[in-house]
Symmetry: C2
Subunit: 329 residues, 2 copies
Amino acid sequence: MHVLITGGAGFLGLQLARLLLKRGTLEIDGKPAAISGLTLLDVIAPPPLDDARVRVVTGDLSDPAVLAQAIDARTGAVFHLAAVVSGQAEADFDLGMRVNLDAARALLETCRALHQRHGQRPRVVFTSSVAVYGGALPAVVQDDTALNPQSSYGAQKAIGELLLSDYSRRGFVDGRVLRLPTISVRPGKPNAAASSFASGILREPLAGEAANCPVAPDTPLWLLSPRGAIAALVRGMEIDGAAFGERRTLNLPGLSVTPAQMVAALRRVAGDAMADRVTWQREARIENIVGTWPAAWNTARALALGFQGDESFDAVIRAYMEDAGIGKA
Amino acid sequence: MHVLITGGAGFLGLQLARLLLKRGTLEIDGKPAAISGLTLLDVIAPPPLDDARVRVVTGDLSDPAVLAQAIDARTGAVFHLAAVVSGQAEADFDLGMRVNLDAARALLETCRALHQRHGQRPRVVFTSSVAVYGGALPAVVQDDTALNPQSSYGAQKAIGELLLSDYSRRGFVDGRVLRLPTISVRPGKPNAAASSFASGILREPLAGEAANCPVAPDTPLWLLSPRGAIAALVRGMEIDGAAFGERRTLNLPGLSVTPAQMVAALRRVAGDAMADRVTWQREARIENIVGTWPAAWNTARALALGFQGDESFDAVIRAYMEDAGIGKA
């Protein structure tokens, strides 16, 4: 079986690729299926992974010719992670529409064409986001709480969910939508996601730098660690599509944490010097987006399907420090 | 002000056009705005309306060049009624996607380009459908019940809703989504809508023909008369966009009626001979679509905004007979 990861040069895509290469199999229909090929598709080339199974395709994901290079009759599993992040999709509407909507649709169309030619029905894991919710919300968000996105990113993700669900209902693909909490702590550099600070206020202090929290200290965030996100992506691919029932969308378990609690955890785990590097200058542009995301969730359905959140934010910070090779202060 | 009606050669489009020409104005921001031009856009030409204000544009609605002919800096109000109906969108996936999704998007993009060039922000009334709902539903559907379409038509309409909401949020248009109940009694011929029978079991007997009801007699339907639909479209255009609050979508008031009740009403209004022309052969293809549509609705929000449903189904039949020039049996 061949596996495709779109956004394969990104942080999650690369971590997922490394895990899949190490595992060597995905469990499909109760049996381990050997991963004989792993294609990483992105606009830029990922760093070399030094594995004969890996193939790199670079290009625009909304271009059917590029997708035709990345997907063929052997493709059994697609992780569609490529996306323009929330802040960028709000700043550049056309770019967001092209990548978050058109590319998702082109991917599904490529799968559909192969289905019609070869009868295959690849499993497709599509990552969605808490940004599909917004406006007045119930005290606790459920899997069947109505979507009401208040950003173009959220609208585009919600449209992608609808497309994946309909393509699945029609049997063109076997799709699964995972609504990821905000990932924290992301390694690397700040990005244009409105939630970028949710990693920055940990990562930058641990690297000896100042970092600003642009939202109120008591703003509730819904977080999942990178390790937890990768495990969820694999789980989402391995479970039986029928287990989703009539809804192909799933809210993943996370931790509800405020920036104040995050920095308190940083203080406990890494010391005062680290925590004191965080500044608290609010920025309306970020608050307007992040403030519409809900923070209390009922994820009983995902838990019953074997998905897991993180144990505590202290543990999340410790895991980040371990992965990044940072000693305790 | 110029008004555009897409699907202007269709039954609702034409009735709306006639009403607007008769009224001569739409109330915008509390003041009557004279309708100086009315453009009917459709793939086929409508019958001549014999009014100097009327202009006809024929062509593919997903073609930006066609839309550029239909919308210009004078366009202040757009009724987007053009759609591929449910049964047809299920039978021909590509056609449904092109008309129900791509054409809606192209229309919004045309408005956006004019907004960026001229600063105008046309009001856009977009008709959606009960087909955006499906699966397990609460006993009574609310405006904020989660969408879960179980047909490609429903998925495409739900995507159109998300697009219109985001284009409105960004200020490109002033959009309003009206989820229309099934329209009954439609004049004319049966069409490819799964709900076509909801008119056929009245219209055909009243024309002296047999008609089949393809769903169980106790299947709940959610109905609105043509007169009620036209009034709702006008109301949807005239109310202040801000009155929609954070949700640009609105479930319109209707009547919850079963085919058995509809035929009983036909019997009361038009006599046994008419009612006895209905046959009851169930068809799975229709039942599978119609059976996913909810029938009990809380439309308090629409009622508060001045929308009205029909008084009784007997009255709906009498109005149809009056409009069609059919005498009582």
